[in-house]
Amino acid sequence: MAREITYRDALREALREEMYRDERVFLMGEDIGAYGGSYAVTRGFLQEFGPKRVRDTPIAELGIVGAGIGAAIGGLRPVVELMTINFSLLALDQIVNHAAKLHYMFNGQFTAPVVIRTAAGFGQLGATHSQTFEHWFAHVPGLRVVMPAVPKDAKGFLKSAIRGNDPVIFIEHSLIYRNRGEVPDDEDFLLPLEGAEVRREGTDVTIVSWSRGYYLALGAAEELAREGIECEVIDLRVLRPLDIDTVVRSVQKTNRLVVVEEGWRTLAMGAEIAAAVQEKAFDYLDAPIARVGSLEVPMPYARNLERLVVPNKDQVVEAVRQVLYQKQPVAVG
């Protein structure tokens, strides 16, 4: 059986179920207690689980993540929350030099199964609150980086991340917390933290994205379908390990690829995907790979400017037309 719930509720269910299932699981972060989290994911948890397991911490991201790593080494299963991915910069050293490397450097003798939840997104919050850094983390061996787009993945990934033995960077998105989707009822519903998913089959062009970008891709695909252009939409879901094989298989079928990402394109996920696809499927490509991303400026605050900076559905549609060498829409029928 399955129910339709929001992305936020999917996260809440995952946390609650895992906290009931395993008393080693506890939450730590800024404003997650009485306030309930900046995006209300942990609202009511303090009352339900008490201050021992829902811990408000001093505001120091490196302290939160570092203490999470230490608590994980000490045998607990911490889920730490960084208010937004912008603030994860303050904890980069802990994430890159400790979380990612402990299992390896200590030959598995010490492990740091910490889950670091954070949120990407924008919404007139200016240059320092509107960034996407998922590819920074995806660059680092030893981390698992997931960025679920739909409630089912949000729940299944979070539960697996908490039960697993690797450090996981779990990136949510401020603009999709209210999105709804079906989620299985099973309290042991888990999803392996790997593998992209083909969410819409098509034959003409492959569009790859993740998180909120997936919805742009889907919207563009639906619009183009009305003209008879069938896009295959892949939700990447996991950025490390990167399931390039699913993308390559799709490109071998469609021969054309568009990558949609929310942030700057330079040296980001789209660049990696394009490079990997030309390595593995060069002869299948009928057009240069197109990348849709934001303008390469720090995010401006003013509404009209922000709208111009972030990618939108129309740009995805245009990118598809570009890889199809189309100037004009194809007449239906």
Binding site: R55, P58, A60, A67, G68, A72, Q94, H98, M105
Partner: protein
Amino acid sequence: MVRETLPVMETEWFQPFTEQPIALLSEEGEWIGDFPLDLDETLLRQLYRDMLAVRLMDERFTVLLRTGKISFTAPMAGHEAAQVGVAHALRRGHDWAFPYYRDYGLALALGVPLVEIFGQMIGTRADPNKGRQMPCHPSSRPLNIFAAASTVASHIPPATGAALSMKIQGTGQVAVCTFGDGATSEGDWYAAINFAAVQRVPAVFVCENNRYAISVPYSCQTATRTIAEKAHAFGIPGYHVDGMDVLASYYVSREAIERARAGHGPSLVELVVYRYGAHSSADDDSRYRPREEVELWRQRDPLVRYQRFLARHGLWSEEWERQLREEIAREQAEAIEAAERAGEVPAEWMFDDVYAEPLWHLERQRALLRAELQ
């Protein structure tokens, strides 16, 4: 707010925030403590043996470096009393140590097998960590010794977190974290100790203040007279201690550790030491330290002071010293030989343990490397 009732500490011999460093031995080796010495002869002798072993191991590291067998070393001579004193104040294998990169003395005194130490320094199969960690990061899973990243002070937040896990699980353990004076300038240091203090976790933060962060002197590092007084900012006690005095290092650390264990929260212990060697094998300290200064501190050698103490109590003789040196030299030579004999780390092991479970992309790399090597 209801505070839990905490057990009263049996002994509280030391005052925090003293003007002068806390010392229990005079330079001539006299006991100047105002409480009775409660250590047995075996431990008193062991402290000396460990200090001597650390001094000799430091010399071994230099030889290994000069013969091209290791890539790096961070000399510890001058820190022996501090490191050995702290190590013996821990409950071995129960409490946790989060050492920094100059703390082989701590590891040695806690009982990390010599073959593992040299195996790790040289990077052979004798290293329990499969040759993955650079020299001077002494670790041991069985002994709860965790030395990870080299980024200065970055191991302090995890130490706080480990202490938090001890508090949550009620294990009765304590996490002891050591670092140099330079580390106290890092944000990690403030974040970690503040966190530990506000959550009252069983941690002890130990600064081995050797007055130089590589070449940068203490006076360029901080405007406070002591490191210990920084504890005021966290609302915890800070102890200013003569770290060239092994008994002072031991007793103050022990009190801080037992205080943490009893639930009274963390402390900051500053052990004032002097490093006789350069910061590491990568620098020449004569460019930033006057020789007269080094010589002055050499006159205060922690081994000599403690030797005088033992001699006063009939626990040291030249004969015993000779025996000890022979024994230690032999043990270390054998350990180096065993570490080298263990052989190179197999290349294919490189792909293990990046994740808890093997992942396909790493298996592909392993297969490619295997083909290349054949």
